[in-house]
Subunit: 209 residues, 2 copies
């Protein structure tokens, strides 16, 4: 691995490559060319070679990449060679859906805590997890050393809870709220507002309706 | 507006700017500098000026942008000066959460159809919408002229349903499944897999645990 700082946009594509490679492995493929991978992810071969080159050379010219080696390397780069424990804040519809989401378990993510402030919800079981009161959130997260949280609360509660999460040691927040979070630079935030994702596609629909 | 083709990465940032500007307007602000906007969205003033320059000049040197004018312009660019009707495919936890999601209504998105294939679910009401059977999906979507769909089905059903959606005239799919969709180039896909969003942050957590 080189010491060059890797642009975040490159990092953002790696999970997508990994996912696609896992799918190819399931299909029984053993090697992949950058062209093949590019077709699957809707990119170009040059882009993929450039992205991967940040982390050293993986493929031999002409023979392509070994899918399993590439999966291994990408998992190491992304720190996916371990299981990350995650807390969900907000046990509404979305928080519940995420707690029960089957796609986490085999991809290195373990939902271990879920919080809410509503008396009817605190103490309820969602799957195997009991909803705890947000009052104990900071202490619980600190105690377990949890670094990753998913925020699924109403927008007006988001910033204050995010501050509490940051103080409790959380370094990565997946933000499902429409609120722009302002946090110290060492806390990474990914916004996953479906409206923003829909809106960027609407740009291309202008002449259709 | 210039005729230059705008990179998709620029388009992807516009909804985020719009959202932040709406928040600023709510706070009672009237003008904003590119530096201020940059701070809020975690970007740089140069980046914001460059992004906006694709669509002509909005601000006067030194005085910043009028927030309301900028909101208006961004809404027009993103075709948000209308309401888009959207179909949800898959009435599981996530499909239900999205159908009930309150953040759509005042941001130009109207969920009008929801489909599932499970006999226990078809016919159920979620909010004000009755779940229909996927058998009639293509016909229903075609009839209503719907261009946007949200896919929240198990991964192994995703590609086949996406093909049906594309044939029924859908041009934009928000893909919540872990499946990479392969579709004609005029169909836009945004993947919103929470695992990918979490994984890209894990890159930065390497030394933390």
């Amino acid at each position: 691995m080189t010491n060059e700082i890797v642009p975040d946009i490159v990092i953002s594509r790696l999970p997508w490559y990994l996912q696609t490679l896992n799918q190819m492995a399931k299909e029984g493929l053993h090697t992949v060319s950058s062209t093949m991978l590019a077709e699957r992810v809707g990119s170009t071969a040059a882009q993929i070679r450039k992205d991967l080159s940040y982390f050293g050379g993986f493929g031999k010219q002409g023979t392509g990449y070994s899918i399993y080696t590439l999966i291994d390397q990408l998992q190491q780069i992304l720190n996916l060679d371990r299981v990350w424990r995650v807390a969900i804040v907000g046990a509404g519809d979305l928080g519940r859906a995420l707690t029960r989401y089957k796609g986490f378990a085999n991809r290195g993510i373990d939902i271990v805590l879920i919080f809410d402030n509503h008396p009817n919800v605190v103490g309820q079981k969602i799957g195997s997890i009991t909803v705890r009161h947000v009052e104990t959130m900071a202490a619980d997260i600190w105690e377990l050393g949890i670094k990753i949280a998913i925020l699924t609360v109403p927008g007006d509660a988001a910033q204050s809870l995010a501050n509490d999460l940051a103080k409790a040691g959380v370094k990565a927040i997946l933000n499902y709220t429409p609120q722009t979070l302002m946090l110290p630079p060492d806390v990474h935030v990914q916004n996953i507002d479906p409206v923003l994702q829909l809106q960027r596609m609407m740009y291309y629909l202008g002449d259709d309706q």
